[in-house]
Subunit: 327 residues, 2 copies
């Protein structure tokens, strides 16, 4: 009988949860909107509700004795050892919350459910998900980069999560590649997130469209309303051959490549799994990234360099969260 | 009876070697000029000669049965598993040499000495030396940075060397912090080594002296011959209060801080041991570096940030090389 767990991806907008069978993957999943207004205690109740619900469903056809626990990926700084979540950026009003223990106790008291709870950062969970079920299965060591509103990362060394001494490792969005530049994020100049986060891609595109003498065909994809311009429009325009949109992706990919070069130099990691909404641009961003990665590293470090798309989409987090229990 | 080993630091200029007692440290050491002209086979013979000599001396008052082997730190890319040294930058004409096995065989055939040989990169050896005998003794995880002609690094995780999948980890000199800048080293733009390597410090100083309306007092330290200007002169002038020299060190330290911020973001390493000739500038470089390190990292990553001077000077390499045997 194979082991199973409940994996949860706690986000600022939605709570995604699934019953995950260790061998066959997701058996059943559910998504509910996050009730951010209710604060930590309200969200613990929400989490407990969805867990209890899935647990009861699972118990109809899976052995409760084979359940390895509840895994939770959460935004912000998570200490996997102590089980605390600190200052999650998308859950306003949270300080330092002992989320693991609170949830475990709530499940016991209100749902009569005694199961161990495991918790980690959402980017780490996504990386671990790809490591066990996705694009990272063949790689012993890799960095997973999530390109979206923010730029996040998780590091797998020797098929295990590398968390660092304080659990904050893998923050590739805070790698600085342009310390004298004009971009900044969270008060730090020249970070990767300040250069290739979703908003910055749009800002760069607007500047490049404005500066282009022959204009860009991207207008027709956003109904000529540039306040609506999104990376998706730039993707469509680039695929149609719009030179400005192509130049935007080249520059974004190239900056990603510089950031990854720092990972190669420091950690000797040569495999990169790229996920997140922005990664839908595919080779528009992958090709310039790998080209720049080669230009920005020593030839003696080129062996085995590889950049591959993530495979699990927005399910990487729940896969990885469940996998925290199988460890 | 305590264990002992012979540690060797193979450099482009000198071969440093020592008998190292695991508990009490260096018992006896010797330095000879490297005969670079003789190529790999000549240097193997040179190494074997100094090893045999020290081994015979050690045998007079130490138990040969307690000798754990010969440890060798070498410049360039070393594969600690296979024992090969590839393209050492300061040993012209070398390609890929099976240095460990060649040395072991030579010792057996010509010196009747059957001892295991361990080999690693010189920057790794220095980091391991500081970890076991120097400034890193209190740190579980740290990065050692060597500031000199080049900028090198070695990473200690959980009191062990972190080598990466291919043995090239810790190349902090190749971390890119200014990808749109004008400096380059080994064909890569904006690397730390291209910005704060010894030559670049002097170049920066010359530019800043030239641009300073009120001039600099550093001239009196280099006999007003600016072709002789060295970081040491800038150190003396700064300690006397010369504003231009102070500004040079502030900028160098600050750029070092940006580079280390990338190590904090990616690896969650918060302890840094700074060695190499340039580190003699001490707080002139340490103070701006730690200030910038704080500015360039998230407040949630400031706990425990520390930058300390290396303790073993140019003996870190031989200590660490010997320690490779004690592992």
């Amino acid at each position: 009988m194979s082991r199973w767990a409940i994996g949860i991806d706690l986000g600022g907008t939605a709570i995604k949860a699934a019953i995950v069978d260790e061998k066959s993957g997701i058996v059943r999943d559910r998504t509910i909107p996050t009730d951010t207004a209710s604060g930590p205690s309200g969200i613990v109740a929400q989490l407990a509700g969805i867990i209890a619900d899935l647990y009861r469903q699972a118990s109809l056809y899976m052995d409760p004795g084979s359940c390895d626990g509840i895994g939770l990926g959460a935004p912000g700084a998570v200490n996997a050892d102590t089980g605390t979540l600190s200052y999650p950026p998308n859950l306003p009003g949270w300080a330092v919350v002992p989320l693991r223990d609170d949830l475990q106790q709530y499940l016991q008291q209100h749902e009569k459910l005694s199961v161990p709870v495991f918790i980690d950062n959402d980017a780490n969970a996504a990386a671990f998900g790809e490591a066990l079920y996705g694009a990272g299965r063949e790689f012993k060591d890799f960095l997973m980069v999530t390109l979206g509103t923010g730029v996040g990362g998780g590091i797998i060394l020797n098929r295990k999560l590398y968390r660092g001494s304080n659990g904050t490792a893998g923050e590739v969005g805070f790698v600085i590649i342009d310390f004298e530049g004009s971009s900044a994020h969270a008060g730090i100049t020249g970070t990767l997130e300040s250069l290739i986060g979703k908003k910055r891609i749009v800002e760069l595109a607007l500047r490049m469209i404005e500066a282009s003498p022959s204009g860009s065909s991207v207008g027709k994809f956003c109904g000529c309303d540039y306040t609506r311009l999104s990376p998706r429009h730039l993707e469509h325009a680039a695929k149609e051959g719009d030179p400005v949109s192509l130049a935007v992706w080249n520059r974004i990919g190239s900056m990603l490549g510089v950031g990854l070069a720092n990972v190669v130099a420091l950690m000797d990691i040569r495999k990169f799994v790229i996920g997140g909404g922005i990664s839908a641009a595919g080779n528009l961003i992958f090709n310039p990234a790998i080209d720049q990665l080669r230009r920005s590293t020593l030839p003696s470090m080129h062996d085995g360099l590889e950049l591959v798309p993530a495979l699990l989409g927005n399910k990487a987090g729940i896969y990885g969260a469940a996998a925290l229990c199988f460890g």
